[in-house]
């Protein structure tokens, strides 16, 4: 494996685009990344397209139909919420293997307002009758495990929502960009205890793209190097309750251990982290899963502001999924966009000062975990 660098990134503002085809959204993000790289579509040698809801509908091909049908290999990727990051990983391996010099990953999604609550209520469904297998309850229960083990309170999860909404006021690409007060988070409509409305990521549409290249291409384009220090993917290993209550922690810990070994850094070296806060409860668990604090210390870390912009380890300064949004296939590329933007010093008002090492993490329920560590 040779070194792989990020040459260009692009992202459209997450939001609602009901009148556009998802391939148009993806194409816009691709063109932004190409402009950022100083390249044209003819320079791309492989495309990995991440899209979940239209996984069987050749979104990658439809993107090239929008911006240039160059006949290159296209991999259409789906891996639950880890779709975009798995697409990035495909691009990374394409270049790292030596087979290609430049590859692009584009993550996109158009969700409408349906959300992921569909799936219950059909004739044969057990949803609601035999508990719930849907995300709000699963992540509610996962948060409850932390409450049971360490006495963490609902308020700690709510503070994460406050933090991420506050962060998003400085991110012009975030779906929502307003602050929300702690009382408003606590008193908002309950979705699945302990997560209220503001503690659940919204549905939305969006796209992000990243171009990776070999060192020789990087030198030709004279860009400031951002290296992909590692790309890690895990699935959920057997744990006693995993088949009943999906275990989002073990596979993340496994991925983190491998990632830190491969990248030759530790959690204390991270200048910023973009992690998978699909629900506020998830973010808290991942502070510990990624080793950003010791097990059992997450609540204290929240109370003491360790994970805020300006804190010990800023987490989700983009606004996270909670405020920036979570168009499923786009997210895994969007958090790489965010980390790269900071490593280049281009993050404007939300810039983490002197950022040199960043980590992007995603969990796809079912389950898959990706971790990418990027260095400047």
């Amino acid at each position: 494996m040779r070194d792989v660098y990020v040459l260009g990134v692009g992202m459209i503002k997450f939001g609602r685009y009901p009148d556009k085809d998802v391939s148009e959204l993806a194409a816009q993000a691709a063109l932004l990344a190409l402009a950022d790289a100083g390249m044209a579509i003819k320079d791309i040698q492989l495309l990995a397209s991440g899209n979940l809801l239209q996984a069987n509908a050749m979104v990658g091909q439809r993107i090239l139909q929008q911006i240039g049908q160059t006949g290159i290999p296209i991999i259409n990727v789906s891996n639950a919420c880890a779709t975009g990051s798995t697409a990035f990983r495909e691009a990374y391996f394409a270049v790292g293997s030596g087979e290609y010099d430049v590859a692009m990953a584009v993550g996109s999604e158009q969700m409408g307002k349906a959300g992921l609550l569909g799936g219950g209520g059909s004739r044969e469904s057990v949803e609601g009758i035999l508990g719930s297998g849907l995300m709000p309850a699963v992540f509610g229960q996962a948060g409850m495990e932390h409450m049971r083990q360490y006495g963490t309170k609902m308020e700690h999860f709510a503070k994460i929502s406050v933090k991420n909404h506050k962060h998003s006021t400085r991110n012009p690409l975030s779906q929502y960009q307003s602050e929300v007060a702690l009382e408003d988070v606590m008193n908002a409509r309950m979705v699945a205890y302990p997560n209220t409305l503001y503690m659940c990521c919204p549905t939305g549409d969006g796209a992000a793209a990243a171009i990776v290249c070999s060192e020789s291409v990087l030198k030709k384009y004279g860009k400031r190097p951002v290296k992909v220090a590692c790309s890690v993917l895990t699935s959920d290993p057997w744990t006693p309750r995993d088949l009943t209550l999906p275990d989002v922690s073990t596979l993340t810990r496994n991925a983190a251990k491998t990632a830190y070994e491969k990248a030759g850094v530790g959690p204390q070296d991270l200048d910023l982290v973009e992690l998978h806060d699909c629900f506020a409860t998830a973010e808290l668990l991942h502070y510990e899963n990624l080793g950003l604090c010791k097990d059992g210390e997450a609540a204290r870390g929240i109370d003491e502001g360790w994970f805020e912009w300006g804190g010990k380890t800023p987490v989700n300064v983009s606004g996270g999924l909670l405020s920036k949004g979570h168009p499923l296939g786009a997210t895994g590329v969007a958090n790489i966009f965010e980390v790269v933007t900071h490593l280049r010093g281009q993050a404007g008002a939300r810039q983490v000062e002197n950022a040199k090492v960043g980590l992007a993490h995603v969990i796809g329920l079912g389950s898959a975990c990706t971790i990418h560590i990027l260095t400047a």
Partner: protein, 146 residues
């Protein structure tokens, strides 16, 4: 006072909502069964091709699970798919044999104060709907042990 399956009109059957719920046709109480890996002892609700813990392709022995357990964790669901009444308590119950089961808690107020971790619970069964052939579909629930 556990619920008995209602007697079925001529030609209709009661069937369990999932195959690992046994309705106890021969005068037994309804109960859950698990497949136990003969090699490593891992427990599964539902059939297996092979054990996902140790990869053994068998033997899988069926064991009967206790109808009494404890509450591991829960979430109170207020927003769900159309047709599902809310709020309801989505729970994970631990059974003494080492299995955990995903279920809905009933006969309890859906409030955190009423749902202490480790609360003893017991299984009951109820008809939840009819299938396309008109048979009663029976599901299991757990409720606080009286």
């Amino acid at each position: 006072m556990s619920q008995q399956t209602a007697p079925q009109p001529e030609g209709k059957k009661a069937r369990p909502i999932v195959p690992f719920l046994r309705l106890g046709d021969n005068g037994e109480k309804p109960h859950l069964v698990a497949k136990k890996c003969g090699n490593c002892g891992a427990l599964y609700l539902g059939s297996r091709v092979a054990c996902s813990k140790c990869s053994a392709t068998g033997p899988f022995n069926e064991i009967r699970l206790s109808d009494k357990g404890t509450l591991w964790v829960y979430s109170i669901v207020h927003q769900s798919a159309p047709g599902i009444p809310t709020p309801y308590v989505a729970a994970i119950v631990d059974l003494p044999e080492g299995a955990s089961v995903r279920c809905t808690l009933i006969d309890v107020e859906p409030k955190p104060e009423k749902l202490p971790f480790g609360m003893p619970v017991e299984m009951v069964t109820k008809k939840v709907r009819e299938d396309k052939d008109g048979n009663d579909v029976i599901a299991f629930f757990f409720r606080p042990t009286k």
